[in-house]
Amino acid sequence: MTTKMFGAPIKRREDPRLVTGGGRYLDDLGHTAYEAAFVRSPHAHARIVDIDVTDALETPGLVGIWTHEDLDGPVGENLPLLIPHPALIAPATGFALAKDEVNHVGEAIVLVVAENRYAAEDAVARIRVDYDFLPVVVGLETARTAANLVHDHAPGNISAHLLQEVGDVETAMAGAPHRLSLDLAIERSACMPMEGKGVYARWDTDAEHLTLWSSTQTSTGVRAAVAARLGLPLAKVDCITPDVGGGFGVKIMHPWPEEVLIPWAARLLGHDVKWTEDRREHFISSAHERGQLQEVEVGFDDEGRVLALDVKFWHDNGAYTPYGIIVPIITATQLLGPYKPGAYRVEFWSMFTNTVLVTPYRGAGRPQGCFAMERTMDAIADYLGVDRAEVRSRNFILPEEMPYDHGLMFQDGRPLKYDSGDFPASLAKLKALVGWDDFAPYREQAASEGRRVGLGIGCYVEGTGVGPYEGAHVVIETSGRVNVATGLTTQGQGHQTAFAQIVADELGVPIETVHVTTGDTRRMAYAVGTFASRAAVMSGNAIALAARAAKAKALKIAADALEVSEDDLEIIDGVIGVKGLPEASMPIGTTAVLSNPLRYAFDEAAKAATQFAGTFDPDKPPVADDEEPGLEGKDFYSPTQATFANGMHAAIVETDPVTAEIKILRYCVIHDCGTMINPMIVEGQVHGGVAQGVGGALYERMVYDEFGQLLNASFMDFLIPYASEVPHVEADHLETPSPLNPLGIKGAGEAGCIPVSAVIASAIEDAEGFPITSMPISPGDLWELRQQHDRGELPSLRRTTAESAKEKS
C-alpha cells in the first residue's frame, strides 16, 4: 500500500532548492534588463506645479524619463477600483504616475529608466518638482473633524459608510440589566514581507508578446489588468510569479502603478525593464492596515450573556480605496467571533487620510474586530466578577447550533453562516494547555517574589476559503511524471508539497513523481489568487477533483487494455493493477501512451505500450467521439460560501514593576482549521502568524507626523520582532472537518495573528489592574498609563479593587 500522504507532516519539497541559494525571486531575474526608479512625492498633500527634468537628461546611463503627460490611453487613466461596493460612496484611486496632485508621501510622480538602478537613482535625484502645498489630513481624529479634506469629492473625508443590524438593538439594549461602553483604538501596521514588490517585463518585438514577472499574490489578476491598460489581447500577455519572498496581503493589491508602467516602458523601449522595490519605497508606497477607532456599547444579563451589542468604528483607508472596503466589512462581520449576541448593530465609516493606502494585511480587519469583541468580553467578566473564560463560554455558539447563520452579509457578498466548529471543546483544550485554573497560585507566587504577571485570552472565528473559484489541471506524462498546475500563487505556504500530497493520494502515485506549478498564466489561465486563507481550501479541492478526473480516465484505459472492469483496478505506487492479480498490471504512464494514439513511436514508453494496443477495429476512430487525446484531468472548485476556521489563544505576560517592560512568558494556541494536509506546514503558519501578531501588539506602528511624513520608514525604526522578541508558541489542534468541501479543509494562513493584540491586552490588563484599550502598547505607553492610573485618571479593574478590599477586610 502506498503510504498515505494527506495528513502527514512530510518535509517540504521546495526546501532543498531554497536553502542552497536556488530560489528565483523577482530580482534574481533579468540581469540585463534596464532598471526603473521613481521620483516619489516628499509631500503628503500638494498640487504639482512643475516638473523640471533638464538636469537629469545628462545623467550617464539614463534611458528615459516619463511623467503623467507621457502616458497615452488607458495607462494614463485612474487605476481601477477593484472591488466596488454600494456603501463606498466616494471611492478614489490614484494614477500610475500622479496627475496634478499628490495625496500621500511616496506617490509616484516620475518614472526613470536607466541602464541600472544606480544610474536611475542618479537621474531621480536631479529631477526638480515644484509643489503648491495643500492642508494635510493625518490620523482618524483629524479626518473626522473634516476641517480639511483629502479629496474634494468626499465630504467629511468619508469614503464609505455602512450599517448592518440584526435584531432590534435599541430595544434589547434598553432592556438589558447591565450596560458598558468601551472606547478602543488600534494603530497602523503593515505586512512587511522580507522581499518587497517587483516587476520584470520582457517585450518580444517579433511575436508582439509581453511576458511579465511580478512578485504578486495574483498572476491572473495582474495579467488581466496589464492587458487592459496596455490595450493588448489577453492572448498576448503572460504573467509568471517567480518565488515570492512573502506577501501577507500587500501583494494581492493590483495592479500597482509599477505593474502597469514597467511593461508599458518595456514595450515602448523594446527592451527588458525591471523594477525592484527598495525598503523605503515599500514603507511609503505600498500599503498599510489596521488603523481603527472603535466605540462599543454592550448590554448583558446577570450571567454575562450579551443581549445587545452596538459597535461603531472608524477605519483609516489612507489616500485611496482601490481595494474597496473589504477590510472594514471583515471587521464588522468577523467581530462576532464564536459568540451569538441577542442583537447586533455595527456601523462604520471608512475615512480618507493623506497617508499610504490601506489594503488587507494578514487577518484583514479581523484583529481589530477580535480586539473589540474580546475587550468587551473581558469588561463584562470584570464587571460581573465572573471568570473571563466562563463569560465567553456562556456566549458561545454551540456545536449543535451549527450551521449558524448570523443574518449578516460577509465580505464575499454571501451570508455569514458558520459551517462547523466546537468552541467549548477548543476552550477546554486551551484552559488545560495554559493551566487556566491554576493561574491564581502562580500569580501569588510571582507576587511574593515582587513580580507582576497576568493571564490573557482571546477567541476568534475566521471565514476562510472564499470563492469565487480556483481550478487545477493535472497532466500525466508517458514517463509517469504528473504535472499539476493551479493558477493561484505561492509565497511560502509550501504548495509544492501540500498540493503534491493531495495528488499522490488521489492518484496513488509516488509523491516524487508529482510536480506542482502555481501562479503561471501559461499553465492555468483561470484563477483568483492567494489571500483570505483560501489556497489550501480552493486549490486543494480543485486539485483533488482534477486528479480524480485524470484517475478515472487512466482506469478506463487500463480496464480496456487489461480487459477487466474498472472496479477491479487499483493504483498503487504509480502502477495500475487488478486487485488480487499482481501479474495483470501496467504503469500509469502506459495509460498515458494509450490515451494519445500517435503515428510515431519515439520512446521506450511508447514501445512498451504496444503490447496493450488491443485488436484493431477499422470502424472505430483512434480517439473516440467523447474523448480527448492525452491523460489529463481538469476541474474547478467553487463553493457556495466561506468555510469558518476558529481558534483560541492564551498568554501569560510579565510586566516589570519599575521599567514597565513587557515580556511574554508563555503563548498557547488551540487552532481548528478542519482536516490538515500537512500539520507541519499548518503549525508553521500559526507560528508566523503569532509572531506578526506580537509585532502588532507590542512593537510595530507607523509613526506619521502632522505633515504626513512617515518618521520610521526603515527596519531601523519600524520594529519587526527578532527571535529575541517572539515567544515560543505552544500549539495544539482540533480538527473539525468542514462539511462544505470534499477534503474537509479550512484555511489556516491568517489565523495565528488574529487574536494576539486582544490576548496581550487582556494579559497586561490582568497584570496591571487597569483597562488596556489601545494597541500596540510599548513599555513607554504602559509606564504612561501607570502614571495616569496613579493620578486617578484611569480606573482600576473591579476585580483588583475587590481583591484589595478583600485583603483589607
Binding site: W66, G684, S714, I720
Partner: protein
C-alpha cells in the same frame, strides 16, 4: 514630455578580484557597487538576498574570511583580496551542509527569502559554539529578521544543525 534620450557614457570601472566559495572571480564594476549587488548581479550568485539595504534584516549576510558580515553595507571593492562565502558555498542540493539540511528537516523556512542570511550566520555561529543551548541558539539568530516563521523552527534548526555537524565530525574522525 517624452524625454527619452540616448544612453550616455557609463561611469569609471574598477577591477575587483575576490575569492567566492573557493573560486576566483573577477569583474570590473563602479567603485560604488555594493558587494550584495556585485555578488547577485555581476557574479549572478543570487542566493544572497537583499531585504533592506540598510544593514538591519540580515538577509544579505555572507561570510567574509569566515566572519558574518552584511554585504549590503560593503562595497565590492572592499572585498578585494578576501574570501567570501555565500549560501551557495554552504552546500548543494546533492550535498547539503548541516545547516541547510537542518532547515529542511525542521521546517526552518517558509518563503525562503531570509534563509540564506540565516544559513551563513548559523554556519559561522556553530563554528564558535558547536553545541549551543536553546537560549544560545535563539540569541545567535537574533540579528536576522524573518517575517514568515516566527523563528521557532529556526531555533530548532540551529540545534539540529549542531547535531548533524556533530554526527558528521564523529564519522570523519
Amino acid at each position: 514630455m517624452n524625454t527619452s534620450v540616448a544612453t550616455h557614457d557609463a561611469e569609471a570601472l574598477v577591477p575587483v578580484h575576490v575569492t567566492v566559495n573557493g573560486a576566483p572571480y573577477g569583474a570590473s564594476v563602479p567603485a560604488r557597487r555594493l558587494l550584495s549587488d556585485f555578488l547577485r548581479h555581476d557574479l549572478r550568485l543570487t542566493g544572497t538576498h537583499v531585504g533592506c539595504e540598510h544593514g538591519v534584516c540580515g538577509a544579505c549576510t555572507i561570510l567574509l574570511d569566515g566572519e558574518p558580515v552584511r554585504s549590503c553595507l560593503m562595497f565590492a571593492v572592499q572585498a578585494v583580496g578576501h574570501e567570501v562565502t555565500t549560501v551557495e558555498g554552504c552546500g548543494t542540493i546533492e550535498s547539503m551542509g548541516p545547516v541547510q539540511q537542518a532547515f529542511t528537516e525542521c521546517h526552518g523556512l517558509q518563503c525562503g527569502f531570509c534563509t540564506p542570511g540565516f544559513i551563513t550566520t548559523i554556519t559561522a555561529f556553530l563554528k564558535e559554539n558547536p553545541a549551543p543551548t536553546q537560549d544560545e541558539a535563539r540569541e545567535a539568530i537574533s540579528g536576522n529578521l524573518c517575517r514568515c516563521t516566527g523563528y521557532q523552527n529556526i531555533v530548532k534548526s540551529v540545534l539540529r544543525a549542531a547535531e548533524i555537524a556533530g554526527e558528521q565530525a564523529g564519522k570523519t574522525r
